[in-house]
Amino acid sequence: MRSIRYTDVAVIGGGPAGLAAALAARRAGAEHVTILERNHELGGILQQCIHNGFGLHRFKEELTGPEYAYRFIPQVEADPNIHVYLNTMVLSLTPTKEITAIHPDHGLVKLKAKAVVLAMGCRERTRGALTIPGTRPAGIYTAGTAQRFVNMEGYMPGKRVVILGSGDIGLIMARRFTLEGAKVEAVVEIMPYPAGLARNIAQCLEDFNIPLYLSSTVTMIHGKDRVEGVTVSQVDDNWCPIAGTERYIPCDTLLLSVGLIPENELSQTAGVPLDPRTGGPVVDEKRETLVSGIFACGNVLHVHDLVDYVSEEAEIAGEEAARHALRETADEAGSGRDGGQQLALKPGSNLRYVLPQRITAGAEVDLYMRVSHPMDAVTLTLSGVTLAKKRQVRPSEMLKIRLKAQHWESLFQAGKAPGQELLVAAEPSA
């Protein structure tokens, strides 16, 4: 085994979150930043997302995924103090920020960092997680795997396709398969409303007359060696198939676009506590986890619908990681966080989650949240204090709301103090 290497900030993952975090850490004064990436190139999932629509908030342009990535990659490559290790798989991370990784030339590598940014992203939920009855033929893919085959490797997984789940990747792939000459028979969604963005329903399904069956699911997969068809049934309010509504759709391919799971195995080796609602670490407004000096951002923290917000969040994590590293340099004994000043933030009625989960009293920060179901005309409140009003809210669209000094004043007047719990809720507007 090689001797141990040292760095100020180690960034695990070279996708959109890792790239923005590394650049922000350097801007904030970290002398040495190291990116560990398991793929052969930087950019992460953006490299296979060849459609446009990225960067509207950040760059006021509609970029493709690779174009968005190339707004960051050349800057990273041009900085001699950002050390990029490609084809490098991180095996473990300790609470004292020691990383063990495998590198094709250096073998087993140990890296000791003053601060770590977790930016590993997420992965797709698979058929195994769904337990669809039927045979186990070839021809069942997650939407993202199909996306990689079609957009990067040059393989078409099939000619007649049914897509289960109306997540954005599934919708994007419905259009992609159609453009490449396949027939997309249907998109099937178990909820009474689509999971993806409204614009993707419009430009990926309606443009190509692809039917969307809501409150429906695949109840049987047919075919011995290869998928030959699926049975689709309507479901009731409890997601139980309704007898008599079955319809058989012949197809050779079933794509699954049924959700993403933050990839936190490494976080857990470091003892980072997770929030069961997001599947990602519990963090404060600096995006610092409950393990001092370990930060998290991007889809490993919570699944985003817009990469613009990933970059924004990663810049917070990168900058704060640099500050932590600088403090550790100044004071080798290490510096914990200022405990005691934080309040816990929890989702109340009609909210699926809110982030960060902990917040320093008085901090003016953006809160990210998702509602649990679509609603019209809502007022978002923080322990009774009105934060914002929205015309329309949907679970597919993450809300970003600024917590301002005036809100804190009202909270303090209401007697809220550090150590207490704050509840964010979405109430129907009066």
Binding site: L56, Y70, M152, A202, E206, D207
Partner: protein, 134 residues
């Protein structure tokens, strides 16, 4: 949902604005004299989108072309601007015949004046040359 209704008083369409992720629900009315009235947008770009959607719908096409001597067999490309929606299938057939050779830089023109639209097809990413690649 884009829903069209044709009446004696003219034409009415509801649609989702695809210009940005907000996805506003737009309503367009065309009266008997052909005058458009548009509601539901939150910004000027949405208003323009609704007008174009009724008069001349256009889309940016994103796809891939074959590439040689690169680490991957495909290069992602896009149209430099939106092209008429009804040309998408034809454009795909044209681009299926195109093959380029690495190295390529983001923004390089891959095909000029696609189907006489005045719009070019450009590379979406850098692709380095790998010698010995098939």
């Amino acid at each position: 949902m884009a829903i069209d209704t044709q009446t004696d008083q003219g034409f009415y369409r509801r649609m989702t604005c695809i210009v940005c992720p907000t996805g506003c629900l737009l309503e367009v009315r065309k009266d008997a004299d052909g005058k458009l009235s548009i509601t539901g947008f939150q910004c000027r770009r949405g208003e323009m989108y609704a007008e174009n959607e009724v008069l001349n719908p256009k889309r940016v096409l994103t796809t891939t072309v074959r590439i040689r001597n690169a680490s991957l067999p495909l290069l992602p490309v896009r149209t430099s601007d939106a092209i008429p929606k009804e040309l998408l299938a034809e454009a795909m057939r044209v681009l299926a015949q195109v093959e380029v050779t690495a190295p390529v830089k983001t923004g390089d023109a891959i095909l000029a004046n696609l189907l006489d639209t005045g719009v070019d097809v450009i590379a979406s990413r850098d692709m380095k040359r790998i010698d010995g690649a098939a």
